[in-house]
């Protein structure tokens, strides 16, 4: 048997080796390097000679940097997309699950934006939102709005415009997850409630919603984490504009790193982003024990 376990050890390492080598080189080493670079004022054009440690300078600069504040603020506002998409998705999922024919057809329709590339979606909405003669404003004028919003061209409306698209793209994913959650609720509960004469609405609030709490929680966390990672859409749709009104942390990070070439400063921002996401995940660990009924 000793020979057996020796063989198992070797086989095990060989099986996970390709994955492990890739993960270590492309993810783990880079995150450690990010940490190191974040304490320097280095840029990758100057080569290794230009590498100087500057202590916490990058981090203190982040505290004073208005563009960073703005991006962080926009990220926090964007979190509002998550509950809105969840609510709409839940209503759709319940209706589709209970009361429609062609379930598959509806799933496919709502899932379509989720599988389309953000580049194509951004190009499409840029035209739809066109302030002067785009179809959306054409419609708004036809129903009596004299001066419809300028959408992406107006700093006051640009972020809302982006958030509408985000709701549109994430709705299908949320709905599919909710549908799966609904499948897992036992029929007996509803039958018992029927016998007791509980109205459908009451059943929804007393059975469906509590039974779906793990699903809702999962969607909330993945949604919030996901909202911090929206890059492609911002990059193609607005480039952070107008006047920084749609800049988010990942987009500002990209600008600092690859346009201004400030590697140290960008790395510090990356580390802050990682800490933010860790906090959300930690919140999940704690929250799951408290609010979710399994």
């Amino acid at each position: 048997m000793r020979k057996q376990s020796f063989y198992d050890n070797i086989a095990g390492y060989l099986f996970i080796a390709p994955m492990l080598i890739l993960t270590v080189t492309l993810v783990i080493i880079p995150i450690l390097l990010s940490g190191v670079i974040s304490f320097s004022n280095w840029n990758f054009v100057s080569g290794l000679d230009g590498f100087q440690f500057v202590g916490l300078d990058n981090y203190t600069r982040l505290v004073q940097d208005e563009s960073f504040h703005r991006s962080l603020y926009n990220n926090l506002i964007m979190i509002a997309v998550v509950p809105v998409a969840m609510f709409l998705a839940l209503v759709l999922a319940v209706l589709i699950n209970k009361a429609t024919y062609f379930k598959t057809f509806f799933k496919v329709i709502y899932f379509m934006p989720f599988i389309s590339s953000f580049v194509a979606i951004a190009l499409l909405w840029r035209v739809l939102y066109h302030p002067n003669n785009g179809p959306i404003n054409g419609f708004l004028r036809s129903i009596g709005f004299e001066h419809p919003p300028m959408w992406l061209a107006d700093p006051k409306f640009a972020l809302i415009s982006v958030m509408i698209i985000m709701v549109w793209t994430s709705l299908g994913f949320n709905m599919v997850i909710y549908l799966a959650g609904l499948q897992n609720i036992s029929r007996d509960l509803y039958e018992a409630a029927d016998v007791d004469g509980a109205s459908p609405l009451r059943q929804f609030f007393r059975i469906t919603l509590p039974m779906l709490s793990p699903t809702s929680f999962f969607l909330l966390i993945t949604g919030v984490v996901g909202s911090f990672k929206v890059f492609d859409l911002i990059m193609v749709l607005t480039g952070g504009g107008p006047a920084g009104s749609t800049s988010v942390i990942v987009y500002y990070l990209y600008e600092v790193a690859f346009v201004n070439l400030e590697s140290g400063y960008a790395s510090a921002m990356g580390i802050i982003l990682l800490i933010l996401i860790l906090l959300v995940t930690l919140f999940q660990w704690v929250g799951q024990k408290k609010w979710v009924n399994y």
Binding site: I31, K107, A120
Partner: protein, 276 residues
């Protein structure tokens, strides 16, 4: 639910209207890509074009100044290679982490799983530097490696391998089969649906990825489709009919794959996330 049929018909009709509203942007895109430029921004919207210009529009995209066909080929190549490599690496790791007992297995799995939380943007700068240094910068192979380094596949497939009874593997071991034989002959066929799901998802994500090609490619001849339509959009500026024809061209192949494999995609997404 003992609901009356009429109710279901009414709700279905209502939902169908909501569904049409929901995909209206796509319908508009398709319709705009068939029109002459002058008709695109007309209001009221002509859903069915009064004048057709479809052939000319798509010709402009596919045989115009921007080498769209090349970008298409590049994307197909990178996506297929990424999907294949990712599938093999993930399946092997998933088997190792679930069916072989070796020293330090659980702690290593935790480490791999923890990388899941690292946002890609936080490691772009060091990745960029390393790629320059390793000679992987500006190459399709570099993109393939990046796509294959995701740990989601390992996590997803491990869940399914765990469902295979150990007795099957033990008895094969007694028959003197090695782990590789068991993996290829027994384990892989048993988790085929999960493999198909992950394959389709990986395909979609790699096909649609914009960030990695943007950062790690420089040469125009290596550009992928996502960089290509962005370039095409800048190039055709205010020609929205052409822009929409480009967008349709980018989305369509995926839609077809999704239509064929929608069951796998939708179930896979649901399976990976809802603990039943």
């Amino acid at each position: 639910m003992r609901s009356i049929k009429l109710n279901r018909v009414i709700v279905t009709v209502f939902m169908a209207v909501a569904g049409i509203l929901f995909i209206m942007p796509f319908l508009w895109m398709l319709s705009a890509s068939f029109k002459p430029e002058l008709d695109v921004m007309k209001y009221p919207i002509e859903w069915i074009p009064s004048k057709w210009n479809a052939v000319e529009n798509y010709k402009q995209v596919w045989a115009g100044a921007v080498p769209f066909t090349l970008y298409y080929w590049n994307t197909t190549k990178v996506t297929l290679m990424s999907t294949a490599l990712s599938l093999i690496i993930s399946a092997m790791a998933a088997y190792g982490f679930s069916k072989i007992k070796f020293k330090g297995r659980d702690i290593l799995f935790l480490v791999v799983l923890a990388t899941f939380m690292i946002p890609t943007q936080a490691i772009l700068v060091p990745q960029f530097i390393m790629y320059r240094w390793l000679g992987l910068f500006d190459s399709h192979f570099g993109l393939v490696l990046l796509a294959a380094s995701g740990v989601l596949g390992t996590f997803l497939l491990r869940q399914f391998f765990l469902g295979i009874h150990d007795e099957i593997i033990e008895s094969a071991r007694i028959d003197a089969a090695g782990h590789w034989t068991i993996f290829m002959r027994i384990a892989m066929p048993l988790v085929q649906p999960a493999l198909a799901t992950y394959m389709i998802l990986r395909f979609i994500w790699t096909w649609n990825d914009y960030q990695n090609p943007l950062i790690f490619l420089r040469s125009d001849s290596l550009f992928t489709l996502q960089l290509g339509i962005r370039k095409f959009a800048d190039f055709s500026g205010e020609f929205y009919s052409l822009m929409m024809a480009g967008a349709v061209s980018a989305i369509l192949p995926l839609l077809i794959i999704f239509m064929i494999g929608q069951k796998q995609v939708i179930e896979g997404v649901a399976m990976g996330s809802v603990k039943g």
